[in-house]
Symmetry: C2
Subunit: 379 residues, 2 copies
């Protein structure tokens, strides 16, 4: 069907209409007024915010009200790995790290090793043993910590390691969510396994865990990929009933796949559109070389008519991650529009940038490895 | 309906036909042959076995085969408290302790604090906060340890405290159980909360946990009240698929209520039929005084015709718990049959025995309190 798309935590397909998604999920625009309120406190704005990559929110106004009353928030985000990390995975963490810096906020990062294990069991996929998901979770923790989080203000936890803390609270959440509710929210049927059914209550916990720990309510801000909103649609009301604040949420768009898929996803069959954090330089050149651009069919036509930056994945990758400077980004877009850059050069430049980013990231990972224990909590 | 009854982990009602239950659950008689095989190793038999209070089993023959090959088993049992402990709760633990002594077996005791919390939430009952169930669980742990378990060979754990160990394994079980299965097995519908749906996978874990810990398969024997069998009907196949032995099970009948209910249950409205471990001497005299006996309407008639020990709760209490000597028990039954004992004296004797038992038990509890940490595991 023309224009149809699906966005769930386990499936993102079709051409996503983010405006339609706001309506469907009942979330609100991150509008000019809210952006200005953020800017008042942060002086500068993160490119994700300036460029509307973070596009929607729940109750951000309330969160800023609380902040302005002196009631600082903490941040919660996470990732459920089903394979190696790719650069698209980093977006919510980069934004979270920026908020930590600007607001001096604590950060809770949940890495559920059981989530994809349970979901894959449901689908009947060839699945890894749980231990392998735990290894993936440890690898994710390292790559996330390496983004520069403050170890004094950041807790990273893997669900099965941290279950002593999480399960007790998850039980309280779960007691107030019926199968009917998760069935409708997640599109389950009676063949869903009982671990997957329960799982959403584990994901809810970090949104009020800080309040449990300190014994009074602390506002929570959750930056996430918009596909994760459903977990909090289900759990927000429950948190209210348990006497906690409902969390505020910031929703990001997905980094598109290099070949124009709307989400860079390792679960898609086509892995050439996905840049993994451990891809070699050569692999990056090869993958970017196959990227979809907005250019014309021939160099002649491109020089004459120019291309469309919105349809050019090279331009989009600069916009999402690889050119933080708005003026320089506009120059890149102009070159595409005016036909003054051809696909080959355009791609080579981007691949070089990506490789530089990956090298720097891997150097930080090597450094972070030595002190990863400062981030991880297990009790 | 005449003859109808219900036995689930959350509801026991009606006049229980234990033979019908065996068919319904697909469990087998604890027959003469098996009892003799136990006796060969233990020399004596526990009264619960001699008197067929333990009446059914799953795969006990296999367990004894393994034992005779030198492959000793461990024991697993548990209780999910929803209030104070009563004497009926002690039966599976007394039997478990006896097996520990006779076979030098390790014992795992699970006290799920979340189970009744989740079930009560489902029923919409006025429910306690989870912390209160945790307090009840601690109290249960103390009363169980006081039965004389060997602290060197006994682990007691409360689910939310031990979730770091339990949740990881429960996820593996849960991944292979669908909602359809628990729906049918436990009589749930879509209004069941997702914690209650998941819970059975937590109860399954201790049946193979020892095998996980030591890295090879160890046979497990589970003495339980027959109402708990359903959890293992659901999980036994899963354990097989995960590569572990399926546990052997011994099923006990319920200690009847003093007024003739088929299960001494604190959840029944009529608490006068239930002897709690903290009942005062006076309360015990009062409750036993109201017990149903098998006697005739008047002392005259009783002396003339005698009574029926099978319908006399006083006789049944001697049989279940308060007269281990078979010859003495037969004398008590004869006195009832022949009308040589009248209800008042009969009841006074039993109440005196119960009070002696409770006093001794409470003395052991006070002693055990000092060393309860030797039993509890939390990591």
């Amino acid at each position: 069907m023309e224009g149809s798309f699906v966005v769930t935590p386990w499936q993102v397909e079709g051409k996503i209409d983010y405006a339609a998604l706001e309506k469907q999920f009942g979330i609100k625009d991150l509008d000019r007024g809210l952006i200005e309120r953020i800017e008042k406190h942060t002086k500068v704005l993160h490119p994700f915010i300036r460029r509307r990559i973070v596009f929607a929110q729940r109750e951000l106004g309330w969160l800023l009200d609380e902040y302005e009353k002196g009631n600082n928030f903490y941040l919660y985000t996470g990732i459920a790995p089903s394979g190696g990390m790719h650069i698209g995975h980093l977006l919510p963490f980069m934004l979270t790290k920026w908020f930590q810096e600007k607001f001096g906020a604590e950060v809770y990062i949940q890495i559920p090793d059981e989530e994809k294990f349970l979901f894959h069991s449901f689908k009947g996929d060839a699945k890894l043993p749980l231990e392998e998901y735990h290894n993936l979770a440890e690898n994710a923790a390292l790559n996330i910590a390496a983004l520069g989080f403050d170890p004094k203000k950041t807790k990273i936890f893997i669900d099965t390691d941290y279950a002593k803390t999480l399960y007790k609270q998850a039980v309280r959440v779960a007691s107030r969510i019926t199968f009917s509710t998760v069935k409708d929210a997640f599109g389950m049927d009676n063949s869903a396994n009982i671990g997957w059914i329960f799982y959403t209550s584990m994901q809810a916990v970090p949104a009020f865990l800080k309040s449990v720990e300190v014994g009074h309510n602390v506002p929570c801000l959750i930056p996430l990929g918009v596909d994760q909103d459903v977990h909090f649609r289900v759990a927000r009301d429950v948190m209210g009933k348990l006497g906690y604040y409902k969390p505020a949420i910031l929703h990001s768009k997905f980094l598109p796949g290099l070949q124009g898929d709307d989400k860079m996803s390792q679960s898609s069959d086509n892995k050439t559109g996905v840049i993994f954090l451990d891809d070699s330089e050569e692999t990056v050149f090869k993958k970017v070389g196959m990227a979809l651009t907005g250019q014309q069919a021939t160099a002649e036509l491109q020089k004459k008519y120019g291309g469309d930056p919105d349809r050019c994945m090279v331009c989009q990758y600069y916009k999402f991650l690889f050119e933080p400077d708005d003026i320089k980004l506009e120059k890149i877009f102009d070159a595409e529009r005016n036909g003054t850059i051809l696909a080959g050069e355009h791609k080579k430049d981007l691949a070089t940038r990506i490789n530089r980013f990956l090298k720097e990231h891997r150097d930080r990972v090597a450094e972070t490895k030595k002190q990863i224990d400062r981030f991880m909590v297990t009790d």
